[in-house]
């Protein structure tokens, strides 16, 4: 059966002599892995449309239950070339690609995640604060997938609190956390930024200018939380850390 949809390339893996396994985040089928015949050859009809982050109109063919349909067509809608052209930008985007791949099961349509991912790419491309765009994506993505940490109030009683407990995925107030060791203490600014990122849309977020310290504090809490859920750190985060050393 032939399927047509819109998708963003998340990952490519070399297969055989000149073939590729391409993982797409699609608007209608969720994450789809497909087999592309000979795109690595110089005169391939796929051209550069199978590079990571390229948004394209795709067609793939395969039986309903096939795990690896064959990619038959890919026409670029937007290439996001400027993100790929800059090492630091691409590394940041690699984190959200990896996060998406870990949390979204194959063939489960999720239009909201697709729109969120696409918006994040446009934000990063259009000189928006890159770090803020990445954290915004991570928080909204975790909310959509049901894994968002609770940082605005105690997860048990709803009272104010600033100590985050990673094993519980929430802030706990002094009464509820009696006898427990906190994973991190949050500043009031971080809690406020988290609330804003969770409720505001991109146009509003475009107008705020949080300090680097606040962003890095919130980022480390979110990374700690995803690390705990996945039971391992993201490879791209480790890569970024290695380069910054």
């Amino acid at each position: 059966m032939l399927h047509r949809t819109e998708g963003i390339v998340l990952r490519t893996t070399s297969f055989g002599e000149a073939d590729l396994l391409v993982t797409y985040l699609t608007s209608d089928f969720g994450v789809v892995k497909s087999f592309a015949k000979s795109p690595r050859k110089i005169k391939s009809r796929f051209g550069s449309s199978l590079e990571p982050l390229v948004q394209s109109r795709i067609s793939f063919w395969g039986k309903e239950d096939t795990s690896l349909p064959r990619l038959t067509q890919s026409d670029i809608i937007h290439s996001f070339q400027s993100i790929r052209d800059t090492l630091s930008y691409f590394l940041k985007v690699s984190e959200i690609i990896e996060l998406t791949l870990h949390f979204i099961p194959e063939r489960e349509a999720n239009k909201e995640v697709y729109s969120l991912f696409l918006n994040a790419l446009y934000n990063i491309e259009n000189n928006f604060n890159k770090n803020l765009a990445i954290i915004h994506y991570k928080i909204k993505f975790l909310e959509l997938t049901g894994y968002v940490p609770k940082l605005d109030a105690c997860g048990r009683c709803g009272r104010k609190g600033y100590c985050f407990y990673v094993a519980h995925g929430t802030i706990l107030c002094e009464t509820c956390s009696a006898g427990m060791v906190s994973s991190a203490r949050l500043s009031p600014g971080v809690v406020k930024l988290y609330k804003d990122l969770l409720t505001w849309d991109t146009t509003k977020i475009n107008r705020i200018r949080p300090s680097k310290m606040l962003l890095s504090e919130l980022s480390s809490i979110i990374d700690m939380h995803t690390h705990h859920i996945l039971t391992k750190p993201l490879k791209s985060s480790e890569f970024i850390l290695l380069l910054s050393e």
């Binding site: 055989g16 005169k43 051209g47 449309s49 670029i76 290439s79 090492l87 690699s94 791209s236 290695l242």
Partner: protein, 197 residues
Amino acid sequence: MAQGIIENLITELIKLPGIGRKTAQRLAFFILAMSEEDVKGISRAINEVKEKARFCSECFNIAENEICSICSNSSRDRNKLCVVEEPSNILVIEKSKGFNGLYHVLLGALSPIDGVTPDKLKIEKLIERVKKNEIKEIILATNPNTKGEMTAQYIRELLKPFNVKVTRIAYGLPMGADIEFADEVTMNKALEGRREM
């Protein structure tokens, strides 16, 4: 009995890339019809390549000895170094006869999602070579894809403190292709890399 040994040969040949059952069957019967001397020649060549092939200690190309034939060739231009991802890339560049310098094989390309970090490639060895030798130009000939581009950018950053010219191979349309079928990214790169005539 004969069926068994032919089947065995077919099973072994299928292990090669691009060889399906039909092709393997055709090759097996062709080998059967070949002279004994030719078959022994193929068998000897396969054995030799597995026994003797190793990485050159200088450039990490495939070599028979400690140093490969390119690194030990005194007529090569030692001021120029071409950085490639895999030893197979050297064969293509050599075939073009457009480069007479030395090579450095990285044995891969950076990929954050796959966990391929700089320490897993021969990047540190490249920096050592730049420090030790009189290299004036480094040509980054990693693949023109995201992984290759990232690797090239990373190496360019590392080479900034050294007094060495760093160039990147050109991007664009392949010879014999028609502009009508070019995609927007390739066309854009071809326009960016245009040269005066």
